[in-house]
């Protein structure tokens, strides 16, 4: 039932960052590389391939990202790294990476070095009605379209901010979806922002051209694109029947009297992503808060080293920046791991990493300009009414969360204890930030001044029959002192 073996390098996550890390580590001479991913195939969310039963006859028609992704996936498969698909890393203790395989076995890989490339997940936004069937994340909807070619509804409202909501609106419209409107919370980029973007464009021309292409496509198809508008409420009896949208100010706060109702059966919500920091937190690495990167992100040096010796981190899991950045960061992390394992000297590593660092700096300029164009407004955290369910696993409302604060406490851990908010199957991924935002506003503090939920394994639900193991408790007690 349980295995234990050693590998020089274990990479958690088989998306762009993880694959790039495996490729560069192998190229730099690391013999034993294992890539672990929950999904059945490499590629991650961005390069998600078609589900079983599909056959691609003409890859170009499947889109540019698909082609780019397939190239990286093929390279990763050929690079000589071992791939463990369908496998979940549920905890890391020191150099011991605990894994289980869905419906299979479980065990520990003792890793010489660890690269965390866990990616990101959709930023949850709680507004009245957000738990009605028919409201979904843009990423979830994109998954349906990418892997299964299923369009999630007949009349779709896209609501969010940033490049994703733009790209995805155009993509699903191209597949025949009836996109009734797109709400972009940020204002129309004025001349100054346009100049910023243009200034950052040299070398990033592809990215800018992609964005402009999506915009002109939607304009041609006469899909209304509403800047400075947000979804403020979803209405319906058993499922979504209407969306109420409103004009918002620069802080993303609704302007009174601008509400308007649209008949839709599906609302795709895409306000960007949160990095998956569960593992980097469980190992005790230091983090900092940056709203535009998606929240708390691990502190790293130029070699992608976290503050925890032997552990590197790359890609969206370290701050949401997209697949292009993830590829470069992953490559650098792979080279750095090879350097620490003694496969290349520091000078060789520097030489290998230089072109990747240059590309990264260029991408960084573009991302920074984009972030200025689409900064996350504090209003995104203020849509919930007192009756809105904030923790959907345990069905805890905003009012219950604020009522549970005892004395002058402003600790989300206390709220979690008393209300159960954050204790459910999603392990707080959906509600933690919203809870912190509610408390912060109540206490007149900033979100990053509040403590976060204490991170402890398992970072994913883990079946008892796979991990249970007979061991004598007394001996164990002596062992740990």
């Amino acid at each position: 039932m349980s295995f234990e073996r050693s590998r020089q390098l274990v990479i958690v996550g088989g998306g762009p960052a993880g694959m790039a890390a495996a490729i560069s580590a192998r190229a730099a001479g690391v013999e034993e590389v294992t890539v672990i991913d929950e999904r059945p195939h490499l590629g991650g969310q961005i390069y998600k391939q078609f589900a079983a039963g599909w056959k691609v006859l003409d890859p170009r028609r499947a889109g540019k990202e698909f082609v780019r992704g397939r190239r990286v996936i093929e390279e990763a498969e050929r690079c000589g790294a071992e791939v463990m698909p369908g496998s979940v890393v549920w905890g890391i203790w020191g150099d011991r990476v605990a894994v289980y395989r869905e419906g299979g076995d479980a065990g520990v890989i003792v890793a010489g070095r660890i690269i965390l490339a866990p990616g990101a997940y959709d930023r949850p936004v709680a507004f009245p009605g957000w738990t009605l069937p028919g409201v979904m994340t843009a990423g979830g909807a994109q998954s349906l379209v990418k892997a299964q070619r299923v369009i999630p509804g007949r009349r779709i409202l896209m609501a969010g901010s940033g490049p994703l909501i733009l790209a995805f609106s155009a993509q699903i419209h191209r597949y025949g979806a009836n996109v009734v409107a797109v709400c972009e919370a940020a204002p129309f980029p004025g001349p100054r922002r346009m100049l910023d973007l243009a200034a950052a464009a040299p070398g990033n021309f592809d990215l800018l051209a992609d964005g402009l292409g999506y915009m002109s496509y939607l304009a041609r198809k006469r899909v209304p694109y509403r800047y400075s508008h947000m979804i403020v409420r979803a209405e319906g009896k058993d499922e979504v029947e209407r969306a109420v949208i409103a004009r918002v100010d620069e802080q993303w706060r609704p302007v009174p009297g601008t509400e308007q109702s649209i008949d839709v059966d599906t609302i795709c919500v895409g306000y960007g992503f949160f990095p998956s920091i569960e593992l980097s937190r469980v190992i005790g690495a230091q983090h900092v808060y940056d709203e535009d990167l998606g929240g708390h992100v691990p502190v790293r040096d130029r070699w992608m080293r976290t503050t925890q010796p032997g552990v590197f981190a790359a890609g969206d899991g370290t701050g949401v920046a997209g697949s292009h950045v993830a590829l470069e960061e992953g490559s650098i992390a792979g080279i750095a791991a090879a350097m620490e394992l003694g496969k290349v000297t520091e000078a060789e590593a520097d030489h290998l990493a230089r072109p990747k660092r240059e590309r990264l700096a260029r991408l960084e300029r573009f991302r920074s300009a984009l972030n200025k164009t689409y900064p996350v407004g504090p209003g995104v955290y203020e849509l919930a009414s007192p009756e809105t369910v904030v923790c959907r696993c345990e069905e805890v409302t905003a009012a219950e969360i604020l009522d549970s604060l005892v004395a002058d406490s402003s600790d989300p851990n206390g709220v979690k204890s008393i209300t159960r908010a954050g204790m459910g199957l999603c392990q707080g991924r959906n509600c933690q930030r919203q809870i912190a935002a509610l408390i912060a506003r109540h206490a007149g503090k900033k979100i990053d001044e509040l403590p976060v939920f204490t991170p402890r394994p398992p970072v994913k639900p883990v079946p008892i029959d796979l991990i249970a193991e007979e061991r004598p408790e007394e001996a164990w007690i002596t062992e740990v002192g």
Binding site: M423, G424, L425, I464, D465, E469, I477
Partner: protein
């Protein structure tokens, strides 16, 4: 002045404030953060599993029977008293044996319990499965107490704290006590992280840190700290109504009202000596869930979703501490021993003692100065 925002501190503050005393509770961090909020919430009314089942140990435990009896009554009225849902369920508890040897031990335990007035009975394998369907077919018997069960430790302390506040007590969070100066006239000056405070009497309810607080007035309260590990599973439909423990292994198992199973029983976690941050271990997770699933096989296909670790402490004789210092009058110390089950009782007795100098149950065996003479 009560030092410590755990169960003992908040219960003491509540009972004192309710009876009209002016109470200030100081907590160095947040309420209910250590043992009080991190234990598994079992309500034990049979005698706890012991490593030592000798007559001498039972003689030592004899006075605690009265504490448990008092606790049993107190928990019955607690939800009404505090005006809060504490998640109390008392549908019985089984301490199971898996072999002859353990069963013989339980037989002796039941005899001793009955001789002290604890209403337990020894049940055989067929009865076990009748009382509690789903338990392993390989069990040899069990010690059964019909009123055992569990409550929710996460809401119990906040409920005491709210009731204390309502009765006029004040609570100050993030206020560590750094030094205590005894002053003339039997008063105390406390130097805290946020200034000095004067008090007529001081109750040390600092849990695993109560030894450090006692030391500030020169009192020796030796404690062995332990970090315990608890596991929670995803919710499932109701399968288990009782509290399950094991005679030979470390296990407490229960299914909460929301459907989640809680698996604990004293497997070790770890604490970082510098940050005091507690972590759970792979070994305890694997070992504790193995014992649980071997005892209650339906757990096999259930997933663990959370673990936590909490700090507890015990005195060298594994007995509670509760009383006033004889050398430093006005300084009171209290420290657990079945701390969750007995916490409300400790709080009430301490309030009686501080207010009147007497208690309704004898507390001589729990003298805080019984370790003064022992070697370091």
């Amino acid at each position: 002045m009560v030092i410590g925002g755990g169960l003992l501190g908040c219960a003491t503050a509540y009972y004192l404030a309710r009876d009209g005393m002016d109470v200030l509770l100081l907590e160095r961090r947040e309420l209910n953060r250590e043992a009080s909020g991190t234990n598994a919430g079992s309500l034990h009314f049979q005698i706890l599993r012991q490593d030592d089942y000798s007559a001498a140990r039972f003689a030592q435990l004899r006075p605690t029977v009265e504490l448990h009896e008092c606790a049993s009554a107190l928990w019955k009225g607690l939800e009404e008293d505090l005006q809060a849902d504490l998640g109390i369920r008392r549908l019985g508890g089984l301490l199971v044996a898996e072999n002859r040897e353990q069963l013989d031990t339980l037989r002796r335990k039941v005899e001793l319990e009955n001789s002290m007035g604890v209403k337990t009975e020894l049940v055989g394998p067929a009865d076990i499965r009748e009382i509690c369907p789903g338990l392993s077919e390989h069990l040899a018997g069990a010690d059964y107490h019909s009123e055992e069960g569990f409550a929710n430790p996460l809401v119990t302390v906040p409920a005491f704290a709210r009731a204390a506040l309502k009765s006029g007590a004040r609570i100050r969070l993030h206020c560590p006590v750094n030094a205590i100066d005894p002053r003339p006239g039997g008063r105390f000056r406390l130097h805290t992280g946020t200034g000095t405070v004067d008090a007529g009497r001081v109750v040390d309810a600092a849990g695993a840190w109560s030894g450090e607080v006692a030391e500030m007035v020169g009192l020796r309260l030796p404690l062995t700290a332990r970090v315990l590990h608890v596991n929670v599973t995803e919710p499932r439909p109701p399968l288990l109504r009782l509290l399950i423990q094991h005679a030979g292994r470390r296990l407490t198992l229960k299914q909460k009202e929301q459907g989640n199973f809680l698996i604990g029983g004293g497997w070790p976690g770890r604490a970082d000596p510098e940050t005091e941050e507690k972590t759970t271990t792979h070994g305890s997770l694997a070992g504790n869930t193995w014992v649980a699933a071997a005892t209650f096989p339906p757990l096999r296909n259930v997933r663990v979703i959370r673990t936590w670790a909490g700090q507890t402490a015990s005195s060298p004789d594994l007995m509670p501490t509760l009383g006033e210092s004889r050398t430093v009058r006005g300084f009171f110390a209290m420290q657990g021993g079945a701390g969750f089950t007995l916490g409300p009782v400790y709080g009430r007795l301490m309030a009686e003692l501080v207010r009147t100098g007497r208690t309704s149950i004898p507390i001589a065996p729990y003298d805080p100065e019984r370790f003064m003479a022992t070697a370091v």
